[in-house]
Every structure is written in C-alpha cells, then in structure tokens.
C-alpha cells in the first residue's frame, strides 16, 4: 500500500537576482499515518519550503520544481491542477502556521471562519457534515456550525457553544492556536502540516498545544509533519525526526535512534549547541562558519566546508546509508567508520 506522504528526491530552485538558488536538493521523506515527523533545521535550511511544497503553496515562478515527486496517497501533487489541489487543501491536508494572530481574520467571528472551512471541505466530501449530498443549504450550515462547536470542544476550548461566536481578539494566543488546530482538523485531513506551531507561544502554553497535537494524532489517525527549529520540541512530541541542512535531509529516523545515536556531524553539532542540563558554563559548542550560498552550493555534501570530518570523498553527493532500522544518515565518512 502506498504511504500517506512520500516525498521522493525533491529538487526546488528559486529564481533570484543572483541566479537560481537551489533551495531544496534531493529531499526524500515518507510519512505514515500515526507518525509525527519532526522536521528540524536552522533558518533557511528549507524545512518550511518542504512543508509548503506538500500543499503546493510555493508560487511557481519564482520557484521551480526541477526534479522529484510528492506523492500523497499515491497521487503526485506536483502534477495536479489548481482546482484539484484546492480540493486537497483543508480536506486531505490540514495546515497550521506559526503566528496564530495573523492567520485568523480579525473582522469575522471564528464561527464564520470555521463554518466556511467546513462547508468548503463538505463540497468535496459530504460525509464530513454527516448529511446526504442532497441536503439543503440551511441544513448544511446548521451541521457545519455543530461541527465547528464539536471541534472547538475537542481542542479544549471551554464553553465552545458560546465562544464560537467570539472574534479572534477575544482569545489568548494559546486559544487562537487551538482554534487554528480545530480549523485544520475540520476537514478530517489525513496529513497535518504544522509549521512552527508553538514558536510564538510561552513554554507552558507550548507544552499544552504539543500535548493536544499528540492526542489529535491518535484520535484522528493522521500523519503529522511538525516543522520546528527546536530539538526539545521534537524530543517531546515526535515519533520520527528528519534533520535538514541547506536544502537536504542529512539524517532521519525514529526519534530514539537519532537522539541516542546521532551520527551525522551536523546533527551532532546541533545537539552540542543546545544548552542542556549537563553542559558546564562556557562549554557550549557553537558551529563555526556560515550557511553556504545556495546559488552556488558546494559540490557534493553541503555541510563539508564546516565539517570536522570532511574528506575528499565529500565532494560527491552523499548517499544515505542505513545505520539502524529506519535510521538513515547521508555521510560517507560516517558510513566508512561505521563499517570499519
């Protein structure tokens, strides 16, 4: 059976004044239902673009997909036309973005906004409202409103039946993020893409939202791609993790395997840069050097110029090798050491 989401060797370049920047080069990832994949990396590594590509929210041009496929339940979304894509967004693919204040329209009640999403999703699948396809407008609207209230209750908004008619400014940041999660789940998506959903929130609220997200995965049997720059968030929430650097995934696998046995030099460097419990004052390791220019990226491994293990063999594009079950590392030097 086909995976829920399978990204195969995705290459994306962005046209800029300096030339074509190769922002994604060979991203391969597959997500199954019930899995929460953490996509981590630093600013500009392409993690958000990977997420946006799945729902085709990257404008082409300036972007251009030069190679690769994105298969959602076996269909390549890169070949779909806009009307068919619209049928997927909000229905098969739910999305949550970083800033809960800008993603709700301040001039409409949240009921209006949730009902809109529910009705749009129901146009593609009338089962969502639990009504026959022939149901009248009024009946559909009433059902959509009931669904909105149910979803708000489910994401933990107290007294949802009255709060549903409030405006976005009447909710706190954490509550707005809950509303957005409810909105993403209204269409009963198979895949949820959460792009830095907790970055704008305080830690205690962040913990609540992440718990909610985990709970929703079990209840709704979805797959999730959680995009974040915070490895702590990944460790707390995800079942799997993929570490990105300069447009490529350098290491991926089950969360336990990657965190207990980080193999790629970049993953190691990233973990050593986090102020953890056992790090003495002054002992934190920064990563020297800068992210490469993506218009003329280094040939082969893009991390090589900053890597302590770099060898002549790094000038070839690194192939992934399996270190343990499902734990893939794209580094020939590590591979050689592992087999030695």
């Amino acid at each position: 059976m086909a995976s829920l989401l399978e990204i195969r060797d995705l290459h994306l370049s962005m046209h800029s004044f300096e030339g074509a920047a190769k922002v994604l080069s060979g991203v391969t990832l597959s997500v199954e239902k019930g899995q929460i994949w953490g996509l981590v990396g630093e600013t500009g590594c392409g993690k958000s673009l990977t997420g946006l590509s799945v729902s085709r929210l990257v404008r082409t041009p300036p972007a251009e997909y030069t190679r690769g496929k994105i298969l959602l339940n076996g269909t390549d979304v890169l070949t779909l036309d806009e009307p068919r894509m619209r049928a997927l967004r909000g229905r098969r693919i739910g999305m949550i973005f970083q800033d809960p204040t800008t993603n709700l329209n301040p001039s409409f009640r949240i009921s209006t906004q949730l009902i809109d999403v529910a009705l749009a999703a129901a146009r593609h699948d009338s089962k969502i409202l639990g009504l026959p396809a022939t149901a009248g407008r009024w009946a559909r609207r009433q059902a959509a409103r009931r669904l909105a209230i149910d979803m708000l209750t489910e994401v933990g908004i107290p007294d949802a039946a009255t709060r549903v008619d409030d405006y976005p400014h009447q909710f706190s940041g954490g509550m707005r993020q809950r509303v957005l999660i409810a909105m993403a789940l209204v269409g009963q998506p198979d895949l949820l893409i959460a792009d830095e959903p907790t970055t704008a929130l305080d830690v205690s609220v962040q913990a609540q939202i992440l718990d909610l997200l985990k709970q929703m995965v079990t209840v709704h049997d979805m797959g999730v791609v959680l995009i974040t720059h915070n490895l702590g968030v990944v460790a707390q929430t995800c079942t799997h993790v993929a570490v990105m650097y300069a447009g490529a995934i350098v290491e991926k696998g089950p969360i336990r395997a990657v965190l207990t046995d980080p193999a790629h030099p970049y993953t190691k460097a990233l973990m050593q840069a986090i102020p953890r419990r056992d790090v003495a004052r002054g002992a934190l390791q920064g990563l020297p050097g800068a992210v490469p220019n993506l218009v003329q990226p280094p040939a082969g491994c893009r991390f090589a110029p900053r890597c302590i293990l770099a060898q002549p063999s790094c000038s070839k594009v690194p192939a992934e090798h399996e270190r343990a079950a499902g734990h893939l590392v794209a580094c020939p030097v590590v591979q050689a050491a592992h087999h030695a």
């Binding site: 630093e42 913990a207 702590g232 102020p275």
Partner: protein
C-alpha cells in the same frame, strides 16, 4: 550594585472609544539585587512584566512606588546630567538584531555614537573613537575590516555582536540583556552566549539577563528570579531553582521546558 526595592508600576485606567479599561498593575512590590560581577537571570512568560522592569532600570519609565539604587544612588533623584553619566554605566542589548541597528548607518557610526554622546565622560577625540570602535569589534569577534560596512551585510549573529560592541562602547559596568539570543539559531546562539561569558570574565561585567528560554538562563546565570504577573515568585541560585524549585509556578514552568532527552 543594583538594588530594586519594593518597586511597583501601575498603569492607570484609560478611557477610550470602546469604553474604559481598568488599571494594570504591571509590577508589584518587586525586590531584587544584583551584585558586581554576577549574572542574574529574569525568567517570565509574555506579559509578566520583564520588559516593564527593564524600562524602570534604564529609567525610561519611573516606578509608581519603590526605588531603584544603582551603585547606591537613587535613580529617580538624579538630575539630567547625573542621569546621563549613569547611562554610560548601564547599557542594553535588545532582542532583535534586525530591528535594533539603523540600516543607514555604518558599523563605525553605530559603535561610535555612544562614545560621541558620552564624550564628556570618555574624552575621546574622533581618531580615538575610531580606534576604540575597531578594538571593540575585535573584542566581540569581528574586525576592523567590518568598520565601514552597513548592517544589511551581516548575519543575525554578527549583528548581535555589533549590538554588543555598541553597548560596550561607553564602558558600562551593568549590561541589560533583553532576550539577546531568541532571534538567533541555536548554533549561533551558542557562539553569542560563549562570547557573553568570555566578555564577562575579561571585563568584569554584571549581567541582568532576561529570557523566556530556561535552558539559556541555566547556562549563563548564577542566580535566577522567576516573575509572574508582576510578582517575583521565586529567586535563588540557578542550580537550586532548577533542581528543587519551591514555588508551584516555578515547578510548572520547569516541567513545561522542552528538554532534548530521549523519550521513554
């Protein structure tokens, strides 16, 4: 060095187009003291009063009640000249290095501006200011070759280094660091944190470090104060607070901290 005694700040009720809002008590009887050469971390969620407190210390705002002593002087009682002299001793580094540098000024102008403002105290002529700016850039890990560039030519981490150089320019003894690394990536954050530790050891600086990132606070601070709704909920040695928090709020905050550890 810095004594904050029973400081409260209340913002009065306001009447506007949509009716009136009640008064807000942003700080309530805050007591804190920072001694020379130490780092005090102030942790709190958004809206807890962290920034209001910083503004009181810089005297950009005056407390409704209570007083703030810097090296024994009551800041509220200082005249304009004395206040200006004091501001050379207390400097701040802001959160967002993209917003806190004037894009139209060169790094040279940015770093020498505080020396120009405090020229009475520092007594540096134009040439000496330029030399000192070059020295400061080297101190923060940049170099004289960066003097005549503009902020847009630098990465986030480098910009934050420029902000630190600017803060050090008038020769302060107390540095207020308002979330200096929260706009940076972790690998860059590590470099900036190490720079701050290094500068503290070399220049004997005192840090008042504000952050919502508990990991950063644990790494850099000797003592921690936890603020919630304008009140200090707990204060103590860093290790003691992280190992055995006493207040309920501190416990819940620590429990919510996303640590990188292998899940069970």
């Amino acid at each position: 060095m810095l004594e904050i005694e029973n400081v409260s700040r209340t913002f009065p009720a306001r009447r506007g187009l949509f009716g009136s809002t009640g008064g807000v008590r942003a700080l309530n009887q805050v007591n804190l003291s920072v001694s020379k050469g130490e780092s005090l971390g102030l942790v709190g969620e958004s809206g807890s009063g962290k920034t209001t407190l910083t503004r009181q210390i810089l005297r950009l705002d005056t407390p409704t009640s209570g007083r703030i002593l810097f090296e024994g002087q009551d800041m509220a009682k200082l005249g304009p000249a004395a206040l200006r002299a004091l501001r050379a001793r207390v400097q701040i580094v802001f959160q967002d290095p993209y917003a806190s540098l004037n894009p139209r000024m060169s790094v040279h102008d940015i770093v020498t501006e505080p020396m120009l403002i405090h020229r009475g105290k520092l007594g540096l002529d134009r040439r000496q200011r330029t030399d000192r700016a070059a020295e400061l850039l080297e101190l923060v890990g940049l170099g004289p070759q960066h003097l005549y560039r503009h902020p847009h030519e630098f990465s986030g981490g480098q910009r934050q280094r420029i902000c630190i150089a600017r803060a050090l320019a008038p020769g302060p003894s107390l540095l207020l660091l308002d979330e200096p690394t929260s706009a940076l990536d972790v690998s860059v954050q590590a470099q900036v944190l190490n720079l701050l530790i290094d500068l503290q050891e070399r220049l004997g600086l005192t840090y008042f470090f504000i952050s919502h990132d508990l990991g950063v606070i644990r790494y850099i601070c000797d003592r921690v104060a936890i603020i919630f709704q304008g009140e200090i909920k707990e204060e103590g040695r860093t290790q003691q607070i992280f190992d055995a928090p006493k207040s309920e709020y501190a416990r819940s905050l620590l429990a919510a901290m996303p640590e990188v550890r292998v899940p069970d």
